[in-house]
Amino acid sequence: MRVGAAIDVAAPPALVWEFVTDPARYLHFMNGITRWEVTTEQDRGLGARYRTLMRVGSAEVGGLVEIVECDERRDLAWTSVTGIDQRGRWRLRELGTGARTRVELRIQYGVAGSGIFGWLAEQVAAPAVRENLRRSLQELRRQAEHEQARAAAATRRAAAQR
């Protein structure tokens, strides 16, 4: 099952990229995520592994995931090592002059070999997962735009002092 959500953020891709690659920020903006813990020495980039959990229904579901694609300021993808089967992807695309970013988050999940109940569980869980993604993007936008506004204010103040 694949679910996704997208949103436009009034901040450049570089700033959004900082959010989506920093594991310490995940618990602050990802809705439903109860754990996003670094398990490798490197905390970001290709090969970094995280133990992740998202509350869906009566259980916290997730497992160990590894970053398998890291295209600077454009794409960040992970796949599961243990736990339920999942693939996730952040897709950032510059809009217009570069001051805005189209952010898309996709998650594909399931349990191979689980048959009809697996299919049914995926359908039942989809609205909750989709809602988590939607709220996560809204929170990401809020935090990123706030940081962007703060950076702009600092720049203006520095210019005024000169």
Partner: protein, 329 residues
């Protein structure tokens, strides 16, 4: 499920590779002592023909119980069945499990739970699902269950979930393998308590779990659940009836419970199970109790027992206060 692990010896748990996990000499010596006790108990002590007949049937019943083999646990099977469990736990029981972070991340641990819901116990389903998704199916979890549960036709699949027959040997073997072991000391006594005693922890004074934790020096993690006793109207344990019918001697069954349950109406014995009402099940996992850190180098079994049951009862009281309506939660 009867998980009073240390009080009654049985023939279960003996198999060829039994010493594979037997690391501690102390544990081996304790097992040898229990083996000697068992030989005495199963020996020809019965004098009259009736007792000899009962002994023979009981021996047969115990003999049919599958020998505990920890390798029967099948992580792939568990993983593939997670969606079905999740559907049942989420949609029917609206399960909620709190505090799984209190379970130590690694190593053997004794999970001690209160048990509810008759022979169809939803607290086990909700908790084991949450444990498996939280820690991953790769982390070994074994549950102890009554001999009869595992020998019932059609329930053999429980062994794939890591369920083993309740005996001191099997519990010891599971702990020595580094697994998390889930026990319900109250067993059949607690699980069939009347519905109006649903919010009481009742281990019937069974302290075997404390001795087990001390013997293997593992932490105890209390697991408190509520809602299971609302899945049917449980009327009583029928202990007198069980004694009269000699079920305790034949099958180690100390109860013959009575309940009003779907689809049977009046349900005697609950042998075929029942369709549980969709009561909300809430489970709270409490902080681990490291016995020697808390009670000194030689903890008193009674003191530990009182501490564990009191802590669990306090939590159960708090969970009960949160509930507004039976079943609804």
């Amino acid at each position: 499920m009867d998980t009073e692990t240390a009080s009654r010896p049985s023939r279960n748990g003996h198999h060829a590779d039994g010493d594979r996990f037997a690391g501690a000499p102390r544990a081996r010596a304790a097992r040898a002592a229990r083996d000697r006790d068992r030989e005495t108990e199963d020996g020809p002590r019965s004098r009259n023909p009736l007792e000899r007949l009962i002994g023979a049937i009981a021996g047969g019943a115990r003999g049919r119980v599958p020998t505990a083999d920890l390798d029967e646990r099948d992580p792939d099977f568990i993983r593939e069945s997670l969606p079905a469990q999740w559907l049942l736990a989420s949609l029917w029981f609206r399960g909620e499990v709190r505090g799984l972070g209190n379970v130590p991340e690694q190593g053997a641990v004794l999970l001690v739970g209160n048990h509810s819901g008759g022979n169809v116990s939803p607290d086990s389903l909700v908790f084991t699902l949450a444990f498996s998704t939280y820690f991953g199916v790769e982390r070994r979890l074994h549950q102890l269950a009554h001999n009869l549960v595992l020998s019932m036709p059609g329930l053999g699949f429980l062994r794939k979930y890591g369920t083993v027959a309740a005996s001191p040997e099997n519990a010891a073997r599971a702990l020595e393998s580094g697994a998390a072991v889930l026990v319900y000391p109250g067993g059949d006594h607690e699980v069939h308590r009347p519905s109006w005693e649903g919010n009481k922890v009742n281990f019937a004074g069974r302290r075997g779990f404390v001795r087990l934790a001390l013997e293997h020096d593992v932490p105890i993690v209390p697991v408190v659940s509520i809602g299971g006793q609302e899945t049917a109207l449980f009327l009583g344990r029928g202990e007198g009836l069980a004694r009269t019918l000699m079920l305790d001697r034949l099958f180690r069954l100390k109860v013959l419970p009575l309940s009003i349950a779907v689809p049977w109406g009046l349900n005697v014995g609950d042998f075929l199970g029942h369709v549980p009402l969709p009561a909300k099940i809430t489970v709270e996992v409490l902080p681990a109790i490291h016995l020697r850190d808390r009670f000194g180098p030689k903890p008193d079994v009674d003191e530990v027992y009182d501490h564990v049951t009191t802590t669990m009862q306090e939590t159960l009281d708090a969970l009960a206060e949160e509930r507004r309506l039976p079943i609804i939660g």
